[in-house]
């Protein structure tokens, strides 16, 4: 039991730190609330879906921005929009913020700015992925008790 409490505390602390650092926001807490006996792995499922989506979208954007002859900003914008929607649904605050900036560069048709944002997004996304995976490992360990 002690271990469980410890692990639970660890989990709570880690999750709180994530919140503090701005990786996650309230929406993530809401998602956590939705997890119940009917859907015990709800959050993990949503997170996995998010990661898949993210990778796909980032690849799309990279390809679109690499075009030497005429970047299709509309396509890029659409992808960013999707990414923004997904990240706000899951509560990935930092990613969402970068997306907002990304969008304004898209509207301004600024290729340099877009590329920079894309780098940032990729960076944030990988960070988030690592953190979440750590969180889930702790969670799974807790649940298995």
């Amino acid at each position: 039991m002690d271990v469980v409490n410890q692990l639970q505390r660890q989990f709570i602390d880690y999750s709180a730190s994530l919140h503090r650092e701005g990786f996650l926001d309230d929406q993530f807490t809401q998602l956590q609330k939705l997890q119940d006996d009917n859907s015990p792995d709800f959050v993990v499922e949503v997170a996995s879906l998010f990661f898949e989506d993210c990778e796909k979208l980032i690849n799309n954007m990279a390809r679109a921005l690499e075009q030497q002859q005429g970047v299709d900003f509309k396509q890029v914008d659409a992808s960013v929009h999707q990414l923004k929607g997904s990240s706000s649904s899951i509560g990935a605050m930092r990613v969402k913020d970068v997306c907002i900036a990304f969008r304004s560069f898209c509207e301004a048709q600024n290729r340099e700015g877009c590329l920079r944002c894309l780098q940032q997004v990729t960076h944030e996304y990988s960070l988030l992925k690592n953190k979440l995976q750590t969180l889930f490992r702790v969670h799974i360990t807790t649940c298995s008790y």
Binding site: Q30, V46, S86, S89
Partner: protein
């Protein structure tokens, strides 16, 4: 010897005398025979002859006489007895007929004579009729002249033309020598020769009006013959010839003022002009009656025509005046508008310009207060702060009032919590009241609705102002605030007859009474309280420290809210009561769109309604779709997910109670889907409720949603509690639009 039965004439036939007799007899017989022939011939020719019988008799008589003379011819020679007997017979017959004729003639001749007299009589009558005919014709002629004259006179509305035409036409009709019109002068004491027929420019002859002849003419409405030696008749330079007969007639000059609406023009205050007509001197003409009548009629017509001309002149003048005034008014209005616009521009600028420095002063002084200061410095800073606060309030009041004055202020209607307003006021006033050791109590009637529709901010401002005044002007004692719903009998205030409350189902009248035990107000000063800038200066103890605008603004706000505010006081030192009545709308549904979103605790009833609810979620984004699905599953709904609008239209059925659509993705035509769903489900109860989910939106988008036919709009991110409340509300009211 019996020879022939012959008769011998007494005289020998060869006698000369006998020969003459013979010839005469022959001619007589001839004549006597021809007379009846002639008679018959002529009678046959004429149509009328009443005495045929007499003619026959006469004819017979003559024929027999002729026969007698004819037979006499044979008696000159020896003739037989037969001839003699024939002769005798003829003579006897002749005698008989002639006697009868003679007797007949006795009757007939008087008749014939009377015929003759009748003929004479008829001839006289015919002559008389001819004369009368002549007269009538003349009169008709006159009448025609009058009509023509009238037509000429009335065909123009110009005064001079009327008069000139009159003279010309009269002159022509009556073949006058001279015709003149004398008009009274401005002073009314003289007649001036204004128009003449023959002379071109009448030199200003004047004649004093009080001449016996003139008076005589003026006193009767008939044309009067006057002497040619009369001053008005001396129209020609003293001439060698004898002037003809002169007639004068008066022409009434009517003024607008003579025509009252219901009466005929007064006869006493009339002015007259004089028309003088002169016949040619060398003819022996006399003025006939019909000519005089003509003149009188013309004079009347001229009077009427002149008065019409006068009226027309007046109305033209009035119209010109009106036009001028119109132009002037228009100019004034435009100037006023410019002034108002200038003032508004000024206010708009000054609003910002004045508030900014004020704000800076207040903020910095309060900051300064926080720092280390010497006591004198602190006092100075406090004074600065107090004064600038006062100034800020004053500026606000002035700007508010200007907005109120020109009617540009509109109430910000919304649903609000009435109880909260009062509590807020209480909270604000408690600190000051406790400093002054005043006890403040608030009583809200139980039937006072918790929510109401009105301008929350301004209502609070008004109540705060009144309560603030109560606190300000009370040095000790207590303040009591009561609020309740006013019934009709308590609404009327005899001092405000123009306040006519109307009760209706959607509104109620809130009555707030603030009673204080302060210094009171002299009842005579009460009317001045609500006027701008009028301070109550009567007692020195009233250190109001505020401008006189507060109550004036309150009154205006209250008026805008269709209410009434007044103060009652029994006198100085007896405290006063401020009473405020405003009209507020009843809030039936608390979840009006203007209401700031307040999450309610879910009721059990709501809970059961959501469980098992069949819901369709359409979202292109996989992650957000999953999140929404998770939310709804957690709440117990039966969720169907679709990723595109086509799928949505395919799968939607009447079993789905709600359809959530994510509209923030640009590719989705949510309005199109809405319309198609509306078309698919014509019956209202079969159609699922359509709710839009969106991450960002503005009023326009929200209105578009409402117009397209959506039943709701929710902003993402949606928390669990929010989704629960939204669903509950949605199912209860079938509409939910989140406040933007």
């Amino acid at each position: 010897m019996e020879s022939c039965n012959c008769i011998e004439p007494q005289w020998p036939p060869d006698d000369l005398l006998m020969k003459y007799q013979y010839i005469s007899d022959f001619f007589i017989a001839l004549a006597y025979f021809s007379i009846p022939l002639e008679l018959i011939y002529f009678v046959k020719k004429s149509a009328v002859f009443p005495y045929r019988w007499v003619l026959v008799q006469f004819g017979a008589f003559i024929v027999l006489c002729g026969a007698t003379h004819l037979i006499n011819l044979w008696t000159f020679t020896v003739h037989s007895r037969t001839v003699a007997s024939v002769m005798t017979t003829a003579k006897v017959l002749t005698a008989a007929v002639s006697c009868i004729t003679a007797l007949m003639l006795v009757h007939i001749i008087p008749d014939l004579l009377s015929v003759k007299t009748r003929e004479l009589f008829l001839k006289n009558k015919a002559a008389e009729l001819d004369r009368e005919m002549g007269l009538i014709r003349t009169q008709e002629e006159t009448g025609r002249h009058v009509r023509m004259l009238t037509h000429e006179i009335r065909s123009t509305l110009d005064r001079h033309t009327i008069l000139k035409t009159t003279l010309v036409e009269l002159g022509r009709t009556l073949a006058l020598e001279e015709c003149a019109l004398w008009m009274p002068t401005r002073t009314g004491l003289e007649l001036q020769l204004s128009y003449t027929l023959r002379q071109q420019n009448p030199v200003g002859y004047t004649v004093p009006i009080h001449h016996p002849v003139i008076n005589q003419v003026f006193s009767s409405n008939r044309a009067v013959k006057i002497s040619p030696n009369c001053p008005v008749a001396r129209l020609r330079p003293a001439g060698k010839y004898m002037p003809g007969e002169v007639v004068a007639v008066r022409v009434p000059l009517l003024h607008l003022s003579n025509f009252h609406i219901n009466d005929w023009p007064e006869l006493s205050t009339k002015r007259y002009a004089l028309m003088v007509l002169m016949l040619p001197s060398d003819s022996a003409r006399q003025w006939h009656v019909h000519e005089l009548e003509l003149v009188e009629v013309v004079a009347d017509q001229v009077a009427v025509a002149l008065s019409h001309a006068a009226i027309l002149e007046e109305s033209m003048r009035a119209r010109d005046l009106l036009m001028e005034q119109n132009v002037a008014l228009d100019l004034a209005r435009r100037e006023a508008e410019t002034a108002i616009r200038a003032r508004n521009d000024f206010l708009a600028v000054m609003n910002h310009e004045m508030r900014t420095p004020m704000h800076a002063i207040i903020a910095l002084s309060s900051l300064l207060q926080e720092t280390e200061l010497t006591p004198e410095q602190r006092l100075m800073v406090e004074t600065i702060l107090k004064s600038s606060n006062l100034l800020a309030t004053l500026i606000n009041d002035v700007l508010d009032l200007s907005g109120l004055e020109d009617g540009s202020l509109q109430l910000d209607l919304g649903t609000f919590n009435l109880y909260a307003v009062f509590r807020e006021v209480l909270n604000l006033i408690k600190p000051i009241a406790s400093v002054k050791k005043l006890h403040v109590s608030l009583t809200l009637a139980p039937d006072l609705p918790e929510y109401a529709i009105g301008d929350e901010k301004r209502l609070m401002q008004t109540i705060l102002n009144i309560v603030g005044n109560a606190v300000k002007f009370s040095k000790e004692g207590s303040i009591s605030i009561t609020a309740f719903v006013a019934k009709l009998d308590t609404l009327r205030d005899s001092k405000a007859p123009e306040f006519l409350p109307v009760l209706s189902d959607n509104h109620f009248y809130l009555r707030v009474q603030v009673k204080d035990s302060g210094s009171g107000i002299n009842p005579l000063d009460i009317p001045k309280l609500f006027t701008k800038f009028a301070q109550n200066q009567s007692t020195g103890t009233r250190n109001s420290g505020g401008s006189g605008l507060g109550l004036a603004i309150c009154k205006r706000f209250v008026n805008l809210m269709e209410g009434h505010i007044w103060i009652e006081s029994e006198g100085l030192g007896k405290g006063c009561t401020a009473i405020l009545i405003v009209k507020l709308g009843m809030a039936e549904r608390v979840n009006e769109s203007k209401l700031p979103y307040m999450p309610k605790m879910p009721t059990n009833h709501g809970q059961t309604a959501i469980a098992g609810l069949k819901v369709l979620v359409m979202d292109e984004n996989g992650v957000s779709r999953m999140v929404t699905k998770g939310l709804l599953l957690h709440l117990g709904c039966d969720v169907t997910m679709v990723g595109s609008s086509d799928e949505c239209l395919r799968l939607v059925s009447h079993e789905h109670k709600v359809v959530f659509m994510d509209i923030c993705v640009p590719g989705i035509d949510s309005y199109g889907i809405t319309i198609r769903i509306h078309e698919k489900f014509t019956k209202r109860h079969e159609r699922p409720l359509l709710v839009a989910l969106t991450g960002n939106t503005d009023k326009v988008k929200k209105e578009n949603c409402m117009r397209a036919g959506m039943d709701g709009l929710i902003l993402k991110p949606v928390s669990l509690d929010k989704m629960r409340s939204v669903l509950t509300d949605l199912l209860e009211h079938r509409v939910f639009f989140e406040a933007i």
